[in-house]
């Protein structure tokens, strides 16, 4: 390493005679085989996503509490280092570097957005850390941006869309309109959905894309109304989603619709803001809280005890990520990230989200996807899972663009 530094220095400048004192910068990780296993969590602590970040940390906390109460992994304690970012990839990257090189973290979790993951994936190998992505759904993360050091715990967008497309017959409505964000996700979702709709004998009467951060959906909603559609497939996130739902309500769009199907549009943290106008809306759901398995019950009980509220998909996926990580360390018999990564390949783990397998070719965790419907329950709004679709259907093979 020292020699390469010298080579680099001399290659570009005047030749210098320099006493190479001290070690050149090349530290990675702490001592991997002794002491606690360190996991750095880097959730957004500001921005519209802060709520999700906090909840993700809660999921990790519960998992770590349980494993430490059991005596740790192979007798070693697990330690969480909770950091924060503003969801700007540059900040996240800086915090990740700090956590790995300064604090000796070997694993990273709770990173939120796909751009952050994209930036992080590019650097993981150099950093020598293993990242668990339980939030960023972009397909590229297991495609051209994939990394052998990144485990994709959450379903990809295409898995979600495939699940929805597979369930299209369950939802009333013959003439569908597609309202999507003008974004990679929006376009690929629209394409998949359209093909499935046509296969199911339904008609797609309108397909339109609004730029990200659209505030006024008036023009789009007017077009939807004029199209004669009786069902809408909407791919709008965050503030865009809220604006769309709110303005659709003002335009009385719901009167002519039998079904509103959202992709990532409606989720538990938004229930209060969106209000009762969304009762009856369909949306993809990443996690079935009602799943009747041992692991899930244990999770819900422990989580509710820790945080005083029931979990939804964000903490559930974080918890699943933790369980996969712990299984990997046990399998490898080491907490060296490279060895854990190797051990995880094609490993099957029993988690709160069911029995899942880490696909060796792209590190995608193979798990079910669900279609949910918003219903009014005792404690306010909730999702009722209508159908579930297994990974055999939603993702048949890994993206050839991903090469480890």
């Amino acid at each position: 390493m020292k020699r390469r530094l010298l080579a680099a220095t001399t290659a570009v400048t005047l030749s210098l005679t320099m006493a190479a004192c001290g070690a050149a910068s090349d530290s990675s990780g702490g001592d991997a085989e002794e002491g606690p296993i360190k996991i750095a969590l880097i959730p957004p602590t500001s921005g519209a996503l802060a709520q999700f970040g906090t909840d993700s940390v809660k999921g990790w906390e519960t998992a770590v509490r349980l494993v430490n109460e059991d005596g740790g992994i192979d007798g070693r304690e697990v330690e969480l280092l909770v950091k924060g970012t503003d969801a700007d990839p540059a900040t996240t990257l800086r915090v990740a570097k700090e956590a790995v090189t300064q604090d000796g973290a070997q694993f990273i979790g709770s990173v939120m957005t796909s751009p952050e993951h994209g930036a992080l994936n590019a650097q993981l190998e150099g950093l020598g850390a293993l990242s668990f992505n339980s939030l960023g759904k972009d397909d590229a993360l297991v495609g051209e941006q994939c990394s052998p050091y990144a485990v994709h715990v959450v379903q990809t967008t295409s898995m979600d869309v495939n699940a929805l497309a597979n369930s299209i017959a369950e939802m009333p409505g013959e003439k569908w309109a597609i309202q999507a964000v003008d974004y990679a996700t929006g376009h690929s979702a629209a394409e998949t959905f359209k093909a499935a709709a046509e296969k199911a004998g339904k008609e797609v009467v309108l397909e339109q894309f609004a730029p990200l951060n659209t505030t006024d959906f008036g023009s789009y909603i007017t077009k939807l109304k004029n199209s004669g559609a009786d069902a809408v497939f909407a791919v709008e996130f965050g503030a865009d989603g809220v604006a769309f739902v709110q303005q659709a309500d003002q335009f009385n769009l719901d009167d002519q619709l039998k079904t509103v199907l959202g992709l990532n549009m409606v989720s538990e943290p938004l229930f209060e803001t969106l209000g009762e106008s969304i009762v009856g809306y369909y949306n993809n759901v990443g996690y079935d809280a009602a799943a009747d398995t041992e692991a899930n019950k244990e999770f819900i009980e422990a989580y509710t005890e820790d945080h005083g509220s029931a979990p939804y998909y964000v903490p559930a996926d974080a918890y699943a990520a933790a369980q996969i990580l712990f299984a990997g360390i046990e399998e490898a018999g080491s907490s060296e990230p490279a060895e854990v990564a190797e051990a995880l390949a094609d490993l099957t783990v029993e988690t709160n989200v069911g029995e899942v397998t880490v696909r060796g070719t792209d590190n995608q965790v193979l798990r079910d996807s669900y279609l949910g419907k918003v219903v009014k329950g005792d404690g306010g709004l909730a999702f009722e899972v209508v159908t579930n679709t297994s990974a055999d259907v939603t993702t048949t093979e890994s993206d050839p663009a991903c090469k480890f």
């Binding site: 530094l5 570009v12 004192c21 957004p44 500001s46 800086r94 570097k97 994209g118 190998e125 003008d182």
Partner: protein, 347 residues
């Protein structure tokens, strides 16, 4: 709105005039000597700072400094405050990403291409904005750089820029950037020499340009644009050239930034990024060449240490206001004033 009130922010340094050509030459040689010494001393940094994280902060500060001295050059010599230089920084970064990832160019050529792209944008924007001055210039540079942002996140631009997803740089493992493979360019210790040499070279070039006859012409335009025209000088051309030059320096920063981080996010063209660099340069002070550099390193330090809960902009906003109200001229400007006062006091 034809009044151009004197701007303390960009008040020139009251440097001792060097009347004789010989004194000027001597000054130039001394300056070049300092530049070479700084360059050599800086190359030893990775041997002193052995910690990867701190080193990566230094590299980031150095690359962002290129952007800041570009902004500072325009402010110092033309009195023009730009909120648009982030566009050149970002365009160059995207240029590198496109050339490597889409076209399979070698990273070294791609950096050259990136600089050309960034500079090209500077020419286009310059043609539109250098006629204006003062506040108009500030607003127009902001608006046009935001236009570039709006274009970069368009879905039709996706194959090139990756739209909102950003662009991950990828090139063959056997391709190198001046001898460094992709893994190594991300190692701040190994990348440091490139960044440091780029910064010292650009700073030296800008300093020499400022001292040249062209620099005097720019000073004349800054002081009294109309009288320059009535003295037979073209004022559009020199302004454009200076604008493009400062844009080129920012572009070099952006191109190296892209290579180093391996990823270009659309935030690079965003509103806050443009503001951050300007604030950093301003807090450091425009009066001296090193002012923006001092400010940028301070900013990177603050960003790494005071960004709790996303409150960084609460602090940078406050710093901006405090500096503008109480110490126009920034940190270096105030130090300079203090120095002059002490010297005068001793006499």
């Amino acid at each position: 709105m034809t009044t151009t009130a004197p701007t303390d922010v960009v008040s020139p340094s009251a440097a001792a005039p060097e009347a004789s050509p010989r004194g000027r030459l001597k000054g130039t040689l001394v300056g070049l000597g300092i530049a070479v010494a700084t360059l050599l001393a800086g190359l030893a940094v990775p041997y002193v700072v052995t910690d990867t994280y701190r080193m990566s902060l230094l590299v980031e500060g150095t690359l962002l400094s290129l952007l800041a001295i570009g902004i500072g050059f325009l402010a110092r010599h033309l009195g023009l405050i730009s909120l648009g230089h982030g566009a050149f920084f970002g365009a160059a970064a995207y240029g590198v990403g496109i050339a490597t990832t889409n076209w399979g160019w070698s990273p070294t050529t791609a950096v050259g291409f990136g600089v050309v792209v960034g500079t090209g944008f500077a020419v286009v924007m310059g043609l539109l904005v250098v006629r204006s001055s003062g506040f108009g210039f500030l607003m127009l540079t902001l608006a046009l750089s935001q236009a570039l942002y709006a274009l970069s996140v368009q879905t039709s631009a996706r194959p090139l820029t990756g739209a909102h997803d950003g662009k991950l740089l990828s090139y063959d493992r056997d391709m190198t950037f001046l001898g460094l493979a992709q893994r190594d360019v991300m190692n701040p210790g190994l990348f440091w020499p490139m960044a440091w040499i780029a910064l010292t070279m650009c700073a030296t070039v800008l300093w020499l340009v400022g001292r040249s006859r062209f620099g005097t012409t720019l000073e004349g335009i800054r002081e009294n644009e109309e009288r320059m025209r009535f003295s037979g000088y073209d004022t559009f051309g020199p302004r454009l050239v200076a604008f493009v030059l400062s844009g080129a320096v920012a572009s070099l920063g952006g191109a190296l930034f892209a290579i180093n981080s391996g990823y270009v996010s659309p935030d690079i063209l965003g509103f806050t990024r443009a503001g951050d660099s300007l604030i950093a340069a301003l807090v450091g002070g425009f009066g001296l060449l090193v002012g923006p550099i001092v400010g940028t390193f301070l900013f990177v330090y603050a960003q790494a240490n005071f960004n709790f809960g996303g409150n960084l902009h609460l602090f940078t906003g406050m710093a901006l206001i405090l500096v503008l109200v109480f110490m126009p001229g920034g940190i270096t400007g105030s130090l300079q004033k203090l120095y002059h006062r002490l010297r005068r006091g001793r006499r």
